[in-house]
Symmetry: C2
Subunit: 182 residues, 2 copies
């Protein structure tokens, strides 16, 4: 009987990704519960969004863990990371558009941890001579987020095939659009 909190969060994320202005009533309906129950679990819209933020951070950190981003060649680590991040891309896309979170000058320190991890990954690749040094690790991190969001959106809109998600992001991020002579 007890509502599965995480399942509610996933339904909310799935809906809010497509319609960020969805009503609490719509969210509840999408999760298959009543508005009353939704409010019992999350005290207000803010709390729901915060919970989604926490979930997003947790999923990203879990993905980074599974991908073992600190091991092996950096390009391979990026490939593994994107692969593991794919299931969280939709949630990430929602949080990305929710700039309200960062408006309150009080951004969750989880993002800082994640950013630091990503930046370290790209910096490691640069120091190993695998990544070019004229693109800052910070920008590469931002670009990774941007590409993940773009890919999630494009798939959601049906513009690109879901199966191409990770290869699209990885190949563009690492190799770029220009044809390379081997």
């Amino acid at each position: 009987m007890a509502v599965d909190r995480e399942q509610v969060l996933r339904a909310a994320a799935s809906l809010l990704m497509r319609k960020s202005s969805a009503t609490m009533d719509e969210v509840a309906r999408a999760a298959g519960i009543s508005r009353a129950t939704l409010n019992r679990q999350f005290a207000g819209r803010d709390a729901l969004v915060r919970a989604l933020e926490e979930l997003g951070i947790a999923e990203c950190e879990a993905a980074a863990e599974r991908a073992a981003v600190d091991d092996g060649p950096a390009p391979d680590a990026v490939r593994r990371l994107v692969l593991e991040l794919e299931p969280a891309a939709g949630l990430l896309a929602f949080l990305y558009s929710e700039n309200q979170l960062f408006e309150g000058e009080e951004l969750n320190e989880g993002w800082a941890r994640l950013d630091a991890r990503m930046v370290a990954l790209f910096r490691r690749g640069q120091e190993a001579g695998e990544f070019r040094i004229d693109l800052s690790p910070v920008w590469l991190t931002e670009a990774l987020y941007g590409l993940l969001v773009s890919a999630a959106w494009a798939i959601c809109e049906g513009r690109v095939a879901p199966k191409d998600f990770s290869s699209n992001v990885t190949e563009l991020l690492l190799g770029g659009a220009v044809r390379r002579e081997k």
Copy 2:
């Protein structure tokens, strides 16, 4: 005396990029006019957003025109395009997060025109052997938008230097992150 309509739109875009949920009153204040005047020029928030959309499309098309995206090598055309698109990146970032526009299943045909133009550019590059063919033109177009928005955001947040805007976007989109042997 007559309020400069375009100036109002720019102020609105500048504010809404940072706070997409800004009140009409906040928008008016940011534009240096009263709410009454704002409502006299744009009949409601929808009209304002639509006007911003039109402005964004017009700026992108003007940029594509100035960049002469159909002339010369495709990679150079992309470089010129990004360069010309830089002033519109902020507005683009706002519109990008305003998925409401596309929610109403009635997307402005201007976007379709722009998309077609971008897709044609990337396809041209592929057919000339300049771009790799394992990344679809549609995805490259989406990625270009995503990188533009990411760069605009990163600069707005102070994470990357404004002067690196075009090189960051262009170099990553065309060359990727991996170091290349010349």
